[in-house]
């Protein structure tokens, strides 16, 4: 089995890098919309806030599990890289965890309190979502900059922190277009328009900055013939962003049958951006320092996990789909049964 696909020292690290990338992407899309809804929840009436939170209530826990999965794969498949990355990002990781804690517990506490305590938990829900989004964007920026901490890299990280939060707000707004109706849905359309601008700005910033900091990347993207294979990536992204923009301007969006398209477009945009980054960084897991091949664990141990993943992953996808199917349709107030 081990040598079935060639040298296990080559294909196993690659398979796990792919699995990790997949988990990060799913996390960014799924928890991205949860966090985005959380950030937007500060700007609405109480009744609207209840509906917004009800629209993510049944899903957020499973969505967050993809982060555990991604960090778990980094931990188990590339232990040296896990140590190097997380110790370099020690402070933003701590901030993100505290944000995730606040956001996660606020779901429960706000539902069980009234009056001042309820308002305080709403504030915790918002600030937890905001802290998590900002710190994730900050980590992205520092990672892109090769985990260096200088004035320039930190300025860049501040920019990506802001843009990723905008991107999350964008995909969160698209989710609300799909899951809500009436005045709240109209607001969501406006938010989506603003968020789209920030998301595109973020993508541009990263696309321009990465080749600038690394001659290797400049070479990787702008040499012939790679350039030709890669050209579709930015072109398709621009097309998708343009299409979303047009749909968002359609006055019949809310009532029409196209309410799902902005969300699908947003997810596609995240995926395209992610693919570009994956291409840039391969084969490194710690930029310019450690490749996935240097960092990988022993092949026997990776194989044990790989076999499990091949069997379990489809099952996970199936019941995740089931959960989304059960809670399909417009969100209504949640209650414990």
């Amino acid at each position: 089995m081990m040598t079935m696909f060639g040298d296990p020292e080559v294909w196993l690290p690659l398979a796990f890098a792919a699995l990790m990338g997949f988990s990060i992407l799913i996390y960014v899309i799924l928890d991205g919309f949860d966090l985005g809804v959380g950030v937007l929840s500060a700007f609405v009436e109480p009744a609207e806030r209840d509906r917004m939170i009800a629209s993510i209530g049944p899903f957020w826990d499973a969505n967050e599990t993809w982060l555990v999965m991604a960090i778990g794969i980094l931990l188990v498949a590339f232990p040296t890289a896990h140590g190097a990355i997380l110790t370099a990002l020690y402070i933003p990781v701590a901030v993100m965890l505290i944000g995730l804690i606040l956001r996660g517990v606020a779901f429960e506490f706000r539902a069980k309190t009234t009056g001042r305590a309820h308002n305080a938990w709403n504030a915790a829900f918002f600030s937890g979502s905001l802290l998590s989004s900002l710190s994730q964007g900050w980590m992205l920026g520092i990672y892109v900059m090769g985990l260096e901490h200088t004035a320039e890299t930190m300025a860049f990280a501040a920019l990506t922190a802001f843009c990723l939060t905008g991107g999350y707000a964008f995909i969160g707004a698209c989710w609300l277009i799909l899951k809500t109706e009436g005045a709240l849905q109209d607001k969501a359309v406006d938010w989506a328009k603003g968020g789209l601008r920030l998301a595109v700005a973020g993508l541009l910033a990263i696309s321009v900055a990465t080749p600038l900091v690394s001659p290797r990347l400049l070479d990787k993207w702008f040499s012939f013939p790679e350039f030709l294979f890669l050209a579709p990536l930015p072109i398709v992204s621009a097309g998708v962003a343009g299409a979303i923009w047009l749909i968002l301007r359609d006055p019949d969006l809310a009532t029409g049958r196209l309410a799902w398209t902005p969300f699908a477009g947003a997810a596609a945009l995240f995926a395209l951006g992610f693919m570009g980054m994956a291409y840039s960084f391969y084969p490194y897991v710690v930029p310019e320092q450690i490749t996935i091949y240097d960092a990988a664990s022993a092949p026997e141990s990776l194989l044990i996990i790989f076999v499990g993943a091949v069997i379990v992953m489809p099952v996970i996808m199936a019941y995740t789909a089931l959960a989304y199917y059960i809670f399909r349709g417009k969100a209504r107030a949640l209650s414990y049964e």
Partner: protein
């Protein structure tokens, strides 16, 4: 306070201690909810559904706290203990990965259906979701305890260039202490929930609950506790005998026994003094320890002095914390035995929970979180008793710590502690707030589902 090793240890201990509080509740409470649900499906007695409705809220709250603190745990390995994964990652990795893939996704996906889906799916799907969540939490306990037990009694591996490589996965999974630890921890969870059920139900009765539901759950808790505690004491004894075989220095610290000798007394109270290597103010039962550990009054029990190297390096754990936490756990265990049997006996003799004396009820409220006390004390015995090793005989704690500047660890530790104290206060306040609200609720306010279709009229959003 400028030693990153010490700070990292404190931070790890604080995080895992906070985390374990919630799994100990959710593991057994999930099964309790399934029990309530099945009783309702069977009998149609409204009180079971009411019990389900009330306890599912506490379950959801505990689960939320368990999840967020668990996420913190999975980052800890990288941020504070990179040496751990670098040395034993080939063993720990697959176990953690299987926990995530088989357990975490299962419980997280079906939790949504269990909490919010009753009006959207047929009753049997909802019951199935409840089962899968309970099963998922138990499965996750299984995997993490496999890993933790392996750290105490490593097996099925070889060291190559300073890294552990797996040679036999069955030996790794069924390592010598795993069966004992798994049984002991699952029983601990059952007991924690038994006393939680009793404590919160007693509180509801005290503030004037007339619904009948509180009396019912008090009774369930009392029977559960009374049935599990003798099993737990027996399982704990077996666990100790197994530990004697594999980690004698830990048992020596638990017993406060310095010299290897026969006819060792059972120390009830003492202040272990590591400087003079003796016990001060000892109160002991003659032959006790030899009898318990060797089933022979003259049995030879290993002592701590065997674990000091020629050059004076101490290779046994710090004595006092192990000695004391062990006594707290066992003491709480015997208190649980006394209380649960007394309550069951009274209920048996006098019928309903309403007949219980208010002072008994107050006592039960005071013991609401006794399971937490015993569980934490047990984990401290186990984990501190393994020091100075992270993985017994394989990796020393000081070799696993990250090279993070101490002020950074101090900063994150302070932030975590503040959040934890705050959340724990909020958790307990809200739990008793819910109990008070349930006690006051007008009976008519509960919309009961039609049993056949299981579709509930939407209860007012909480």
């Amino acid at each position: 306070m400028d030693d990153p090793l010490l700070l990292s240890r404190i931070q790890f201990a604080a995080n895992i201690s906070f985390h374990i509080l919630f799994p100990t509740i959710t593991i057994a409470l999930g099964w309790m909810l399934l029990f309530f649900k099945l009783r309702f499906n069977r009998t149609g007695d409204e009180r079971w559904m009411e019990a389900y409705r009330f306890w599912v809220k506490i379950f959801a709250l505990s689960f939320g706290l368990g999840v967020v603190s668990g996420i913190t745990m999975s980052f800890q390995f990288g941020t504070n203990w990179p040496g751990f994964m670098e040395t034993v990652g080939n063993i720990a990795g697959p176990l953690l990965a299987y926990e995530i893939m088989t357990a975490f996704f299962l419980e997280a996906a079906f939790l949504g259906i269990m909490l919010f889906g009753a009006s959207r799916v047929p009753n049997w799907v909802h019951t199935l979701a409840t089962f899968l969540v309970a099963f998922g939490t138990t499965l996750s306990a299984f995997w993490i305890l496999v890993l933790n037990s392996w750290m105490h009694t490593p097996a099925g591996f070889e060291m190559i260039d300073g890294q552990a490589h797996a040679t036999d996965w069955l030996a790794i999974i069924f390592n010598p202490s795993m069966p004992y630890r798994l049984v002991h921890v699952l029983l601990a969870s059952g007991l924690t929930v038994a006393f939680l059920l009793m404590g919160v139900s007693a509180f509801r009765l005290l503030v004037g609950d007339r619904s009948g539901g509180a009396g019912l759950t008090l009774k369930v808790g009392a029977w559960l506790g009374a049935m599990l505690i003798p099993v737990q004491i027996f399982a704990g004894d077996m666990h100790g005998l197994n530990t004697l075989e594999h980690q004698p220095q830990k048992v020596a610290a638990m017993e406060g026994n310095w010299e290897t000798r026969g006819a060792v007394p059972l120390v009830l109270f003492a202040l272990p003094n590591e400087e003079l290597r003796q016990n001060d103010f000892e109160v002991a039962i003659p032959y006790g320890a030899s009898l318990i550990l060797k089933h022979d009054p003259q049995g030879v029990v290993p002592g701590l002095n065997d674990f000091v190297a020629e050059d004076g390096t101490v290779m046994h754990p710090p004595v006092a914390p192990v000695f004391w936490s062990f006594r707290v756990m066992v003491g709480t265990g015997f208190l649980m035995l006394l209380v649960s049997w007394a309550v069951v006996w009274t209920l048996w003799r006098k019928g309903g929970a309403q007949a219980l004396n208010p002072w008994v009820l107050r006592g039960l409220v005071a013991m609401t979180f006794s399971g937490w006390v015993a569980t934490l004390a047990g984990w401290y015995t186990t984990e501190i008793g393994r020091q100075p090793w992270v993985v017994q005989g394989v990796l020393a704690t000081e070799d696993a710590v990250a090279d993070v500047p101490a002020p950074m660890v101090a900063g994150s530790l302070t932030a975590y502690l503040a959040v934890y104290v705050f959340l724990l206060t909020a958790y307990i306040t809200v739990m008793f707030g819910l109990a008070r609200k349930a006690a006051k609720a007008d009976r008519g306010a509960f919309d009961l589902p039609d049993r056949r279709s299981g579709r509930a009229a939407l209860a007012p959003a909480e």
